[in-house]
Structure formats: C-alpha cells, structure tokens
C-alpha cells in the first residue's frame, strides 16, 4: 500500500512518468480514493500554471530588434 507521503513525493519529484507501470497504477488508484493527495496534485499543477503565466509575460519583453541584433552579432 502506498502512503500519502509516498504518493505526494512521487508527484512532487516528477518521477511518476519514469516509474514502473505497477507503481503508476498504484498512484492512480490512491489518487482516485484520496482527496487530500488530489488536492496536493492540484496545488502542484497550479504552481506550474502560474509559473508559465509569469513566463509568458517575460518572453514579450525584448523589442522587435532582439532577434536582428543577435543575427548581426553572429555575422561579425
């Protein structure tokens, strides 16, 4: 039996996709039954979403000549 600590550690380290199938199924089963671990996973996902929202504001910062300047420098 996987504990809440096992499941949330695996979710948090991002190791789930590399885990063996049996373990992935055990995590899925636990998540289906445990609302606390589901809430934990949603928190983790919400943190990632807001980080991506913050990053989206960053990539529009450089002015339009950003790329041209780099190409200019590379051609020197």
């Amino acid at each position: 039996m996987m504990t809440c600590k096992d499941v949330s550690t695996l979710v948090s380290t991002g190791g789930l996709s590399d885990a063996p199938l049996v373990r992935r199924l055990a995590v899925r089963l636990h998540l289906a039954m445990c609302r606390h671990c589901r809430a934990f996973r949603r928190q983790v996902e919400a943190v990632a979403r807001s980080a991506r929202a913050a990053a989206a504001a960053l990539e529009v910062e450089p002015l339009h000549d950003f790329e041209s300047n780099i190409v200019e420098r590379l051609r020197q």
């Binding site: 606390h36 990053a55 420098r73 590379l74």
Partner: protein
C-alpha cells in the same frame, strides 16, 4: 530523415506555419543545415534565432537575470553555439544543447559553480506534513480557482526569489520549458534522481511561500 529536417522547417516558415522552439526538440538538425550555420548563412542564423531566442531569454529571466543581462546572455549563448558547432554535430537536440550553454554561461556570470546542499531545511517542511504512518497531518487545500492568472503570476515572481539558483533553474526548465528530467539532467550535469529532489524542493518552497500569501487557503 530529411523529410522532417530543417530544409522543411524553412519551408514551413515560408508557408506561414510558425516555427517555434518546441519543434526542433524532436527534430535533429541535419548536416546541410548545420553547414549553413557554420558558414553563417543569414537565413539559417535567422531561423535558429527566431526559433530559440525568446525561449532562451524567457529562461534567463526566469533564472533571475535582469532584462539587459538576459539579452547579453542569450547573444553569448548563440555566439558560443556557432563557434562550437563542430562539437554539436546533431548529436543532441538543439534546444537541450542551447540550454546547456545557457547553464554554463549563467554559472560564469555568477562566478560560482552552483552546488546543491545535501540537505535543505525545506525537506523538513515537507516531512512535517505527514505522521509516522505517512498520512497527511495537515492536508493541502485545493487551490483557489478564483485566483486570476495575473495575480498568480505576480505571487510566484516573489516566491521564486526564495529558491536556490539550481532549484530555480531546474524548476524553470522542468515546469516552464517543460523539458524532461533526462534532458534537464544533461543540461545542469546532475543525476535524474537529483533533478527530482531539486524540483521537489522548489515546489515545496513555492507552495509554502504561496500559502503564506493566502493562496489555496481553505475557506
């Protein structure tokens, strides 16, 4: 296979399909295209800069560099890439390779080889959420669905300052750039297991910082 190669990427660009950074993470650069880069063919240079420049800039900013530092850094990354293109020779995905150069350049700027402590006090923060049997003592609250995207983005910008440089970089590469643990492991020169530890620490710190800002508090 040239069918999926950069000759077609250029065609795709011409035909109006956007050539974004994610794409050539799966498309290795072919020899003809590398040769054009080596000769500093303007069109080839332009397509790689268009495809990767802003993504690298975004990562540099996410790692904590100022606007002008990030612009400088990205220029340096491309200069090094073109100068060392013989060593690239299509053996890595270009996105991963460029992020690897960015990693080294950022360490040069910080004038330090960033090492991660074996233990971080935040491990205790995570541990303290569970009892001896591994059950939640203080169950997490489901995140507030009503927090706006802008508000959330503002909150997280403050919170990332609390991360160590390596935690911040790993969080950025895994969560924002959505690179695999294996790729990030190559970029920063740490084991895949340790990438997991770093991501876990970053997430724990961020959740705790955001909770301190009243985020996801149950009402």
């Amino acid at each position: 296979m040239s069918a999926a190669g950069p000759a077609n990427i250029t065609e795709a660009t011409r035909s109006g399909r956007v050539w974004l950074g994610m794409m050539e993470d799966v498309v290795p650069l072919d020899d003809a295209y590398l040769e054009r880069l080596r000769r500093r063919d303007p069109e080839a240079l332009r397509s790689i800069v268009d495809g990767q420049g802003r993504r690298l800039y975004r990562a540099a900013r996410g790692m904590g560099f100022s606007k002008s530092e990030a612009e400088d850094l990205v220029q340096d990354v491309f200069v090094t890439f073109i100068e060392s293109i013989e060593r690239f020779e299509g053996r890595a995905q270009v996105g991963t390779w460029l992020f690897g150069i960015l990693h080294h350049k950022s360490q040069e700027r910080w004038r330090t080889v960033v090492r991660e402590e074996l233990n971080d006090p935040v491990d205790q923060v995570f541990e303290s959420q569970f009892d001896a049997r591994g059950s939640w003592i203080r169950p997490p609250a489901a995140p507030d669905q009503h927090v706006g995207a802008r508000e959330a983005a503002d909150a997280i910008r403050d919170c990332v300052d609390g991360l160590s440089p390596l935690q911040r970089e790993v969080f950025q590469l895994r969560q924002v750039e959505e690179l695999s643990a294996a790729d990030v492991s190559k970029i920063v020169g740490q084991t895949i297991t340790h990438i997991g530890v770093l991501l876990h620490r970053a997430r724990t710190k961020l959740r705790s910082c955001l909770e301190g800002k009243g985020w996801g508090r149950s009402r």
